[in-house]
Symmetry: C2
């Protein structure tokens, strides 16, 4: 093979992978699958897409080998092919937030107008865990908590939080987390908690960011 042919082929293969990522719906799917595996139906629901449409996008990801599948009963479950897929999404996400003022502004404006409060980073949380008491609160749907969560976190899905406040202590600081930096479950949780007189902040990143750093995680079997 000639040198130029070789380079053309390598870069066009890499561009194919990149194209498979280059769609807003597919990025949402990638972030969702970073929480664990989901059926086509669940993915369609979470992303607000018609099922046929979601399936089509999943085919694109599958052809690019970014996702794997397995069948359980009547359902087909999709998951990220490996941790490099999440790493690449993370790199894109960070590039976007840093380079594109629009995104940073969108996030800040949205947070400020809806929930005006501080957040903590993963490093901050690690330090809090080491040096004192902190309640780690997972506000994702319970099924996602069961697939994997930060060690010692407790699960109260955001739509149950208001009615289950009594499970939390007002004396311990609470750090709420969810799927990722653009997920608003944690913001909503902190808003509810602050209003009810709890001391609470949100984790800037999500569970997959914690997991990829090989920090302690737990899985609930059921």
């Amino acid at each position: 093979m000639k040198k130029r042919d070789f380079k053309d082929k390598v870069y066009s293969e890499l561009a194919k992978i990149t194209k498979a990522l280059a769609n807003p719906h597919r990025l949402v799917i990638i972030e969702l699958l970073a929480q664990g595996e989901f059926s086509v139906e669940q993915i369609a629901e979470q992303t607000n897409l018609p099922i046929a449409n979601a399936s089509q996008h999943l085919q694109v990801l599958k052809v690019a080998q970014l996702v794997d599948i397995s069948r359980k009963g009547n359902f087909i479950y999709y998951r990220l092919a490996n941790s490099n897929v999440f790493k690449t999404w993370k790199a894109l996400r960070e590039l976007g937030v840093e380079r594109i003022a629009t995104i940073e502004k969108l996030v800040k404006d949205f947070r400020k107008s809806n929930f005006d409060f501080e957040s903590v980073t993963i490093d901050d949380l690690v330090r809090k865990i080491e040096s004192g008491k902190v309640t780690i609160l997972d506000v994702r749907p319970e099924s996602e908590f069961n697939k994997g969560h930060i060690a010692n976190a407790i699960s109260i899905p955001i739509d149950q939080l208001s009615s289950r406040l009594k499970e939390l202590s007002k004396r311990t600081e609470i750090v709420a987390y969810c799927r990722g930096p653009f997920c608003v479950f944690a913001d909503e949780a902190v808003a509810i908690l602050l209003k009810a007189g709890y001391k609470a902040t949100r984790l800037e990143e999500g569970f997959p960011d914690w997991q990829i750093q090989e920090l302690p995680v737990e899985v609930s079997l059921n």
Copy 2:
């Protein structure tokens, strides 16, 4: 702003950036600019594109804020907007090589059929530098060497190597490097060196990979 509007906008902005990367020519340009800044004319030449075409691709990268420009005399020089752009390219590259058998096979087959020999990683090279004598050979064009190179490397551009062999010692192991893992200058160099009786291997990655790890680099002023 509503929750869904917010998410739609964030992910569509991120998809825009990803789309800007999702083209083989533009990936080649990103890798080239990781070596330093180049004029439109130089970029067109290196990528084998008509100038108008190269300019068009550069506009796409500029709108996505992945590159910055500066004018010097009649020329406009393009450079990567910041190190996160390279980090993202590196993540995509590694995802591709790991996930896509086609790419790995392309690289292996090409290397095996043209140059069958071992390579060393950046970690290997760091150890070699610490623990003994090694000649680090930069075979990129001299202008790229001048913009930045591995500390203590010597520059012999690949097209001058055959005629400048006497500058190298046969007693010291030589590690040749170039732009990146898909760049073949270093392969060609090792082939020439082995044939002439030198002890030589190539560095798997390229100069930008060394630089991003904050390992020692030097810049030649001129």
